[in-house]
């Protein structure tokens, strides 16, 4: 059974990887850029999957970590030519001390992972040691997303405010922006690594403990585990991954705005994960890619009606396929292989008993 299970995950992962690798050879630059953006979304969904899918903590504010990562790199690019216009407009003539480290892009790349990690760790510490869980956890994280969005809008002099940060270059090396395809492959590589990391993490003993927290948190304590520690750790790792995806988003998209870091983005990723299948390995990847392609196609065909249609699809899937599209597929596959294995053992038993019967007759 485990063999079959491994197979469907791995087969789909390899097929998806091959498809994504040849995609730039076949599609226009416009489509490649879109697919690159959706890959970033897939990475973001992988980060939420650790928290919601495997540990059962529905975070409705994950875009905060995405945004922290994105803004670190976005601000770093904006500061490359001295004081950016959105600052000087407010009479700021010198880069504030707090933002000095962002003048260095490599340092910003590091901070784009560390800062979301530290913030997630602190939030996790306060929430989980005070034993807040379930709906209250979701409400607190939702409030955080709203706060963060407001913060970015209101700190206009330092963040570019409502307009966001624009004209960001595509990951320049020695002053030259990277070609689109090269950057696309970097994003693909990082996402694939993140996928493998998730797979590894959930196959360790740690992964099993985290899943048992999702199943029955109070029970696991009686085996000597402190669930708070495990939740803080998984939330921190997830925050770092989300920060990484936010950073990859900036060069692909060319701009970042408060809409990308607030409630809308936080709930979108929940939808991708619900449709793909939370708590599975390929669910977040396929969910993010499929939903975004679909909404893109629909918005081209039916500019006014597409959101209504997408909403209907979401409702139908949540109602009738609670495990999501990939989750349902995986479940069906497991059942089928289980039946097959049972049939095989039955067949073996049957032939054995026939042999016994023959022997018995022979003796008689």
């Amino acid at each position: 059974m485990r063999l079959y299970n491994q197979r469907i995950d791995n087969v789909l992962a390899v097929v998806t990887l091959i498809f994504l690798a040849v995609f730039p050879l076949l599609a226009s630059d416009f489509r490649v850029e879109l697919m690159g953006k959706f890959l970033v979304y897939a990475l973001f969904a992988l980060s939420l999957n650790l928290v919601w899918g495997y540990t059962g903590l529905l975070s409705l504010g994950h875009a905060v970590f995405f945004g922290l990562g994105g803004y670190m790199l976005g601000l770093a690019y904006s500061l490359q030519n001295g004081v950016p216009p959105f600052m000087s407009r407010f009479g700021i003539e010198e880069i504030p001390l707090v933002m000095r480290p962002l003048e260095s892009v490599p340092l910003a790349l590091l901070l784009g992972i560390l800062v979301p990690g530290v913030v997630a760790g602190l939030i996790g510490y306060f929430i989980f040691t005070s034993k807040v869980s379930g709906t209250y956890f979701s409400i607190i994280t939702l409030a955080l997303a709203m706060l963060f969005e407001m913060f970015v809008v209101n700190m206009q002099a330092y963040t570019g405010g409502f307009n966001g940060l624009m004209g960001l270059p595509r990951f320049p090396v020695n002053g030259e922006p990277l070609p689109l395809t090269t950057y696309y492959f970097i994003v693909l590589g990082v996402t694939a690594l993140a996928y493998l990391f998730t797979k590894w993490l959930m196959e360790t003993h740690f992964g099993k403990v985290v899943k048992s927290i999702r199943e029955h948190e109070s029970r696991i304590q009686f085996f000597g585990y402190n669930p708070a520690r495990f939740k803080i750790f998984v939330f921190t790792v997830s925050g770092m991954l989300a920060g990484l995806s936010g950073m990859l988003y900036v060069p692909m998209n060319g701009f970042i705005s408060p809409q990308d870091v607030g409630v809308v983005m936080s709930t979108s990723v929940v939808v991708w994960l619900a449709i793909g299948g939370r708590g599975t390995l390929m669910g977040p990847v396929l969910g993010a890619l499929a939903v975004n392609w679909l909404s893109n196609l629909l918005s081209e065909q039916y500019p006014t009606l597409w959101q209504l249609f997408l909403g209907a699809v979401v409702v139908l899937i949540v109602l009738f396929l609670p495990n999501g599209l990939y989750g349902t597929l995986e479940h069906w596959w497991k059942e089928r292989s289980l039946h097959r294995a049972e049939k095989e053992t039955k067949a073996v038993l049957l032939t054995e008993s026939k042999v016994d019967l023959k022997k018995a007759r022979w003796r008689a």
Binding site: M1, R2, L201, T204, H205, F206, K208, V209, K211, S212, E215, H216, S218, R219, I220, Q221, F222, F223, G224, Y225, N226, P227, R229, F230, F233
Partner: protein, 249 residues
């Protein structure tokens, strides 16, 4: 050392105006198999909750193996060697039987030891051994949700074995089992938990007769009687509150 693995002194817990346990002095010797009896609401499960740290006492102390464990969290009492089986089997449904056992396995409680834990030959052997003791070898790769009620009870006993506690608390381990399964469970408890201390809460008198050495009877949060099963059955106070139905019949 006193020779007692567990001692409570003046243990009291109050829920609102109701004293679930009042001023209870309760002792269990090392290696003993103790059965706790009592009508509904006598405070049996509350006492188990207090020992494992799920409920905090209003006053009084609990000592385990000479250490004061009053007010510790469940994960702390578990690390000290107290294991617990719940009334309704609490297993992890969406995980396989083997994964359930692995999670219960002792010694990987910390985040980093859990991250870098490798299943070595010793652990594998122990898993196989436990699987055959609890009769679930063929179902190791199945989800716990697919097990029957009795099998789930055994799986939880297997998880306790993997946890390897010194003091085992079993809350109605045979609830919902057939007579045959109950008898098998009694044998299982007597054989596999030998050398450890066990406290068993149970209603099934046939089962109690099978396993009991010393019986404690609780009534309204207080200790009513303590002794061998024969002594308890002949105790007029006990007959009055608990075995009343039997006496009338």
């Amino acid at each position: 050392m006193s020779g007692y693995i567990l001692e409570t002194e003046g243990l009291t817990v109050q829920f609102g105006g109701f004293q679930a346990i009042s001023n209870l002095d309760f002792r269990v010797k090392k290696g003993e198999l103790r059965v706790i009896l009592g009508p509904n609401g006598a405070g049996k499960t509350t006492l188990m909750d207090l020992i494992t740290g799920k409920t905090k006492p209003t006053s009084g102390t609990i000592r385990y193996d000479g250490k004061d464990i009053t007010g510790l969290e469940p994960y702390e009492t578990a690390r000290l060697g107290i294991g617990r089986k719940f009334q309704n089997p609490h297993v992890f449904d969406k995980m396989t039987v083997l994964e359930n056992l692995e999670v219960a396995f002792r010694g990987y409680h910390r985040v980093f030891s859990a991250l870098f834990y490798r299943k070595n030959a010793e652990i594998k052997d122990r898993m196989a051994e436990i699987l055959s003791v609890i009769n679930l070898k063929d179902k190791a790769e199945q989800l716990a949700a697919n097990l029957s009620h009795g099998e789930r009870q055994w799986l939880e006993i297997g998880m306790l074995l993997a946890q390897d506690p010194q003091l085992i608390i079993l809350d109605e381990p045979t609830a919902g089992m057939t007579a045959e399964e109950t008898c098998k469970t009694g044998e299982l408890i007597q054989s596999v938990f030998r050398g450890r201390t066990a406290i068993v809460v149970e209603h099934d008198m046939a089962f109690v007769r099978q396993i009991a050495q010393v019986v404690t009877v609780l009534h309204q949060g207080k200790l009513l009687a303590e002794g061998t099963l024969a002594e308890i059955e002949n105790n007029p106070k006990v007959q009055e509150v608990y075995l009343k139905g039997d006496v009338d019949a």
